[in-house]
Symmetry: C2
Subunit: 174 residues, 2 copies
């Protein structure tokens, strides 16, 4: 599986159940949300802007997409809501960079390193100033995705939060 195929399989609406384990104090957080993943064209203004901000040439990118989410946590009364633009920049069929814009809500702009393992798992590592994130996403079947996200200390050894999402494809409403 290459990144184009991975993105293509991800396009759609997903109902997500997410559990976050805050490890230091053994807290469980439960989040339910709807996620929408939409393909963008390489000439969309927001894609061009994100590439320019990262000094990336438009002819090196593939499969740009937008991800939006809206949901509810049992920890925080506020609605969880956000959106961001994501642009893969392959360096080989199995790995590359993933650009992400600031979006709105809690997202911050970042460049991550992705790879695809032989068994079709998408692995994304992103370094921030004071933390690092590792994410694994894989398809159980065309309509079920699993996602494990780890937030680690910037040294990358200590795990602060481990979270797991099970995502089920929703019927498209007409």
């Amino acid at each position: 599986m290459d990144i184009q195929e991975f993105v293509e399989r991800s396009i759609g609406c997903w109902r997500s159940q997410r559990s976050a384990h805050h490890l230091a104090f053994s807290h469980f957080e439960a989040i339910q949300s709807e996620i929408e993943i939409v393909a963008l064209t390489a000439d969309a203004p927001e894609v061009i802007a994100l590439c320019q901000a990262n000094c990336v040439s438009l002819d090196t990118i593939v499969s740009p997409f937008q991800m939006s989410w809206q949901g509810q946590s049992d920890w925080d009364e506020n609605e969880v809501k956000g959106s961001c633009i994501l642009v893969p920049v392959p360096e080989s069929p199995q790995r590359g960079k993933l650009l992400r814009d600031q979006g709105y809500a809690e997202t911050i702009a970042a460049v991550g390193d992705y790879s695809l393992t032989e068994d079709g798992t998408f692995v994304l590592n992103t370094a921030y100033d004071r933390a690092a994130a590792e994410e694994k996403i894989w398809f159980v079947n065309p309509n079920v995705r699993c996602r494990v996200s780890l937030i680690k200390t910037s040294a990358g050894t200590g795990v602060v939060t481990a979270s797991f999402s099970s995502e089920i494809r929703q019927e498209v409403k007409h």
Copy 2:
């Protein structure tokens, strides 16, 4: 990583936070438990008995071990408790069978197919009469393991329950 190294890294006491997602009705279940994994010798009576029950020759097995757990779910008032014997039977450095005895409590005897991916993930598939289980376990660092378990319909396509455990190694108490 081969199965011997994987088992060796797993030996010890672990504090586990597990979230189970019951997908059909979007239910979250939270389970906290202690897991103990202890190495056994190939001549332990329970290992010999399990091999005989499966017509497996003792000189083909490696790294037998016992896993015990004890914990509490927020769904069921009863204590979650059990123990089982596990015996790997490698067929190559990267794959083989995993024998499991009936143990006590909710475990049932089974033979699963395991493999180890290039990035060190242990993958176990077990077919039962009316269901199939797929489990992935990997180390984030020597003291943190992640485990994703999927219970599927026997055809292997529908996912009934998806669960995630984050497991943190506990100090050995003297």
